[in-house]
C-alpha cells in the first residue's frame, strides 16, 4: 500500500483545500494517508470550519470583478466579502465544501494529527478539535513520513 504524508500549515480558504483534496483522493485510491496539521493548518481540524476565510490582501493573483487597489482591499469588510464571493464561486462550480471534504477524508480513514506544540502555542483546547485527532510532535510524523512514498508541505 502506498503512503502519503502531508504537512498542512495554512489556514486560509484557498490553502485549506489542497491538503483535503489530495488526502481524500489518495485515500480513495487505497493509499494510507496522514495529515499533520501545524500552525494555521490546525484550523482544518477545528469543529467549526465556518471561520476559515480568504483575504484579497497580499494575494494579487485573486481574480476580482473589478480592479482592486491594495488600499481598497484593506478596508473593513473586504475580507468577509472576498470570502463570501469565493464560497459562492466554489458552490456554483460544484466544488465540495471543506467540511464535506474533511468528512470524506475521515470516512476513508485518513489520519489527522495535530501538532501539540502549536496547540499549546495558540492556547487551544483539545475539545475545540474534531474527534479522532492524534496530538503529537514532529518525531511521530517523521516515523510515518520516513516510510511514505509521497510527502508534501502545504
Amino acid at each position: 500500500m502506498k503512503k502519503m504524508g502531508i504537512i498542512a500549515t495554512k489556514g486560509t480558504l484557498d490553502m485549506a483545500y489542497p491538503p483535503l483534496i489530495l488526502a481524500s483522493t489518495a485515500a480513495a485510491l487505497g493509499w494510507d494517508v496522514q495529515v499533520f496539521c501545524t500552525f494555521y493548518g490546525l484550523d482544518l481540524l477545528r469543529k467549526d470550519l465556518s471561520g476559515i476565510r480568504i483575504s484579497p490582501l497580499a494575494n494579487p493573483a485573486m481574480p476580482m470583478p473589478v480592479p482592486m487597489p491594495v488600499l481598497v482591499s484593506a478596508l473593513p469588510g473586504m475580507e468577509a466579502m472576498a470570502t463570501m464571493m469565493m464560497k459562492q464561486k466554489l458552490k456554483s462550480k460544484g466544488v465540495a465544501s471543506l467540511a464535506e471534504l474533511r468528512d470524506l477524508c475521515i470516512e476513508a480513514d485518513v489520519k489527522f494529527a495535530a501538532c501539540q506544540m502549536t496547540v499549546e502555542l495558540f492556547e487551544y483546547d483539545h475539545s475545540e478539535f474534531i474527534g479522532g485527532v492524534d496530538f503529537v510532535g514532529a518525531a511521530s510524523f517523521m516515523e510515518f513520513a520516513g516510510e511514505a512514498d509521497v510527502c508534501l508541505f502545504i
Binding site: I21, T25, A28, L29, G30, G94, V95
Partner: protein, 75 residues
C-alpha cells in the same frame, strides 16, 4: 452493456466524481459494472488514473454533448 448501478456526478467538480465513484463501487460485487456520468472535463484522465491504481477496469468511456460517460467494472 449490462449496468448494475448508475452514478450521476453531473455538476460535481474534482475530486468529488472520483470519491463518489469509489464509494459507489464499495458496495458492489466483483464483475459488476458501474455507469458514471460526469461533466468534469478533468475526470476523463482521472477515471483512467483511478482504474490504473485501484485495479478496477474502465471498460469504456465516451463524450456526448459535454457529458462524459464511464463504465467501470469492479475488481
Amino acid at each position: 452493456m449490462n449496468v448494475d448501478k448508475e452514478l450521476d456526478a453531473r455538476g460535481l467538480n474534482c475530486p468529488l466524481p472520483i470519491l463518489k465513484t469509489k464509494k459507489s463501487l464499495a458496495d458492489m460485487s466483483t464483475g459488476q459494472v458501474l455507469k458514471v456520468i460526469s461533466t468534469d472535463a478533468g475526470s476523463v484522465k482521472d477515471m483512467q488514473a483511478f482504474a490504473n491504481q485501484t485495479g478496477n477496469v474502465l471498460v469504456s468511456q465516451s463524450e456526448v454533448n459535454g457529458e462524459y460517460v464511464f463504465f467501470m467494472q469492479k475488481k
